[in-house]
Amino acid sequence: MTRMEKAANFSRRAVLKAGGALVVSIGAPVSPDFAYADEALSMSATMRPALTPDQLSSYIAVNADGGVSAFFGKMDMGHGISVAIAQMVAEELDVPFDTVKVVMGDTATSVNQGGASGSTGIQEGGRQLRAAAAEARRVLVELAADKLGVSADQLTVADGVVHAAGDVAKKASYGELIGGRYFNVELAWNGQIGNPLYAPGKARSKDPKDYKIVGQPIRREDVAPRVFAQSDFCTDVKVPGMVHGRMIRPAVAGAMPVNVDESSIKHIPGARVVWNEGFLGVLADKEWDAIKASRELKVTWSNAPPPFPDQASLYDHIRKSPVRKQEAGGKPIGDVDEAFKSAARVIEAEYEWPFQSHASMGPACAVVDIKGDQITVWTGSQKPHFTRDGVAGILGVPQEKVRGIWVPGPGCYGRNDAGDAAMDAALLAKAAGKPVRLQYMRDQATGWDPKGPASLHRARAAIDETGKVIAYEFMSKAFPRVDVNSNESKPYDTLAGQLTGVPLRSGDGFAVPEESYGFANKRTYWQTIAPLLDRGSPLRTSHLRDPVGPQIHFASESFMDELAAALKLDPVAFRLQYVTDPRDIAVIKAAAEKAGWQPRPSPRKDQSGGNVSGRGFAYVQRHPTRVAIVAEVDVDRSTGKIWARKFTVAHDCGQIINPDGLRHAIEGNVVQGISRTLWEEVKFDNKMVTSIDWLSYPILDMTEAPETIDVVLIDHPEIAPSGAGEPSTRPVAAAIANAVFDATGVRIRRVPFSPDYVKAALS
């Protein structure tokens, strides 16, 4: 069954009759489940209060049967966040969990809460839905008070039914009170859209001690449809009359097509070219024909100068490049320069991290349908509201003429290739005069997605005569974290925009370590350098899971280990000596205890032979979340191969909404973190990225997966929940590096720890 067929089914039963008496604060009839129902949408659009952030109806609706729709302006990127959101909404409304349906990712049904972004699904997105649900409950209780003639403070709610305290006969269900009609209640919107959007009502949310649903390990509903092949991905969307598109990229980055010989594909049925400056694609009725046309089209490219340094000189390039921007990570503490002058000993180290690819499981796909002045884009992008804005921009139409519909894509860990695919599909659809489905090919997915930036990091510490760290300095010098923004709302942030004449507007930014080491003198800062190519670059940077976190904390937490080793101190004890935040201390102790950590300095000195083992520690903050991790590794000295065998993760993200979902998210983060540490490096020559498939961009294989990942969850019901989608990615590389040092006595300061590199380092 395709998405479009489902839509028709929804629309038939879409708009409900609004029975019962009109109540003052109630708006228009609501359709319960119109995420994909065009008919229902067009009928309800005139009756629903405006879909604006200041309306309660933009977040919560009660259907005629009493079921609740929660309209969520963020998306699930695989962590099952809709379950957690439904838990938060059900908890505040006092309705059964399974009566709440979270409707995500359609610009026609939700406001822009920033999409999937920065691990803020619960932290920011859930915060808003929680506030909206609490307000909905307050309004419903007031409605019941009027209906039942009982004051609101004498009413309680259970399972979506409002009861009078001393008279069980006096009751009214949510369905009776408002079912089938929209709320018409204004919220106190803070005027922001995206992640910072917040619009509370008058209600206070529940005291965590009363939680019944939040904190429960409720399972995902979307797993069974996946395993029975009954649910669709973005790649499965089919629209009547749709044709297939494929894009063509140059063999030298920056080269432009100067001649396109359309006769070279005339033998392929229906094949045609779409060409505008650097934008070059093909269309055909059948997908395989579009692929063949993209391969067989004869194109003459401009003689572009090779834009990239040789890979071997990448880090020298970063070292020697002029600094474009420098920024401190807050006000320096103490007088760092004076402290270094008085040091008995100075320890310094430099670390290197390569460009990395999202390398999503499938190449990005988008479907665009232009019907008169109404445009629909189906996208796997993590930010469909911004995709809508981008499509409107690139087609030159008002935003309200475009509907963006998110459908789960083939993997997404940030600003991957999905945003570019949507814009390319829009230009192809405009040229085709028909709906177009575009999917990239594997070499484009890995070769041309926005990359996590390459970086180098320098750390130094001043030690006094007693062995105390008296000063610490940490700096990063790197390509910017976002050459293209983390969303695709502006043409200059997309390949299609850049290839049709809009140059890159590289954002300048990086970050500094997040920790609470209380060194008396401390200074952290970053520097960025210019991108390598001003448009259409396969090495343009953007957000990749935990943007710039893995590289920074690989360096900072490796360096803490270096300090501990230099001072012949146990790495955990060393950290506890300086860490100041109580939650940090707790998470560090929890990981060490669970792992059975025995205090001693690294490296081990009791091993000989070819195979050696070691253990390593790392701890990080990521905004309010804290993670500490113990890695245990085996190293084959003869081959340089590392098996990252066991991990123990202690995780504190404040209030836990769903421990089961949280554990799965942490496991995935750790495994992806291992992959990025051991294997992942975007290869390139001076013309082009040469990592174009799974052989040239290997990721962690099942034969290399850990034996065990133990997770310790620290729950703080009293502390607002913070992100978990990314933080546990952040300490993995350092923990492995520190374990390799413990095992071998050799410090690996460059990612990836490929067998060849490690073998060379060990010899």
């Binding site: 499981m361 993997g411 799974w694």
Partner: protein
């Protein structure tokens, strides 16, 4: 030049007109509307397109339609249903394995063929049987738990 091919997919016969070079993947997805095998690489490097061809796991992205012959094709949708699930499908639900879920055909279809022929596999044997398949979200631990659970159920 298009030719007519007769295919048996999940027990149903289909006639398809296609270029003989067309990979089976596109015939299943575009001509027969079976969305479950996915395009991941087109290079037989990831497994997202895996189906069973005469009971063996096959990468449909590099299998030309002309090479299928009279082979019986089974896709993930044909492996089991909610009413009559395959033990691996049950185990995947029990262990809540997928994140994005795009890789799912490779792991389940490969493991199904493996577990049919290999009873009581060890951890190492399972890992080797699944070597080369890709999961970018990093659900490896959950996949291993699910395959072990299914192996126990099929014992």
């Amino acid at each position: 030049m298009n030719q007519r091919f007769l295919l048996t997919v999940n027990g149903t016969s289909h006639a398809v007109d296609a270029d003989p070079d067309t990979p089976l993947l596109y015939v299943l997805r575009d001509d027969l509307g079976l969305n479950n095998p996915h395009f991941g690489c087109g290079l037989a490097q990831c497994g997202a397109c895996t189906v069973h061809l005469d009971g063996q796991a096959a990468r449909s992205c590099i299998t030309p339609i002309s090479a299928v012959g009279n082979g019986e094709i089974v896709t993930l949708a044909g492996l089991g249903t909610p009413e009559k699930p395959h033990p691996l499908q049950m185990a995947y639900i029990e262990e809540q394995v997928p994140q994005c879920g795009y890789c799912i055909n490779g792991w389940i279809m490969t493991a199904a063929a493996f577990l049919r022929d290999k009873k009581k596999p060890t951890d190492a044997e399972i890992r080797i049987a699944l070597e080369g398949l890709k999961c970018r979200c990093g659900t490896h631990m959950a996949i291993l738990r699910a395959v072990k659970r299914a192996a126990a159920a099929m014992d």
